[in-house]
């Protein structure tokens, strides 16, 4: 199993090959797609991409944590985090694909 990393460059190329539009425009479309997801999450919106998964903003309460290096207690402010739940289809494909 060859481990590969997918980055923007490959996505630009994929869209370019699929739509046959100029590379620069394909790059802009990919970028804008990601950005629209980020903007929705910034508004606190849940992003549901059918056949892929759900991105959701979750609020974390303030708590006292610890600096793992020094062991000293440190206050952690309330914050928002993203949780991603892959769709059943994606879970099944990932599990099947990586078990071979």
């Amino acid at each position: 199993m060859k481990s590969q990393t997918l980055t923007r460059a490959e996505l630009f190329e994929d869209v370019h090959n699929e739509l046959g539009l100029p590379r620069q425009e394909c790059a802009a479309i990919v970028e804008r797609t990601l950005d629209l997801v980020v903007e929705a999450l910034e508004r606190g919106d849940t992003v549901k991409l059918s056949g892929f998964g759900v991105f959701q903003v979750r609020e974390k309460n303030a708590r006292v944590g610890r600096n793992p290096k020094t062991g000293k207690p440190a206050a952690i402010d309330p914050r928002k985090v993203i949780s991603f739940r892959a769709s059943q289809i994606v879970k099944a494909r990932v599990d099947a694909g990586t078990h071979e």
């Binding site: 997918l6 699929e18 892929f52």
Partner: protein
């Protein structure tokens, strides 16, 4: 926001593209990510986040209805870690600008 809403929005910003083409682009982006994970690879999108595959060891689970113990086999699951920039953008408040 649903995928259909994302596609509509993109299509309105790229009026010279058909909605069908925008839909193909969005589906292709998602499909490329899935097939990379399927091959055991990872997806790295700076500013957005990274998707990777994590392995979960086999464990003894329980059938919640009957209480019976069942073996849950080891599996691989997709995992998303948000990027630094996304985390920062989520947590921006007025007084953060002072930093």
């Amino acid at each position: 926001m649903l995928k259909s809403e994302l596609i509509e929005r993109l299509a309105s910003e790229y009026p010279h593209l058909t909605q069908k083409d925008v839909e193909r682009a969005v589906n292709l982006i998602l499909e490329s990510m899935i097939s990379t994970l399927e091959k055991g690879g990872r997806v790295e999108l700076r500013g957005f986040g990274a998707l990777s595959v994590r392995s979960r060891p086999a464990r003894a689970g329980r059938n919640p209805r009957t209480g019976e113990s069942v073996k849950v086999p080891a599996k691989h699951v997709p995992f998303f870690k948000s990027g630094k920039e996304l985390r920062e953008r989520l947590n921006l408040t007025g007084d953060d600008n002072a930093e």
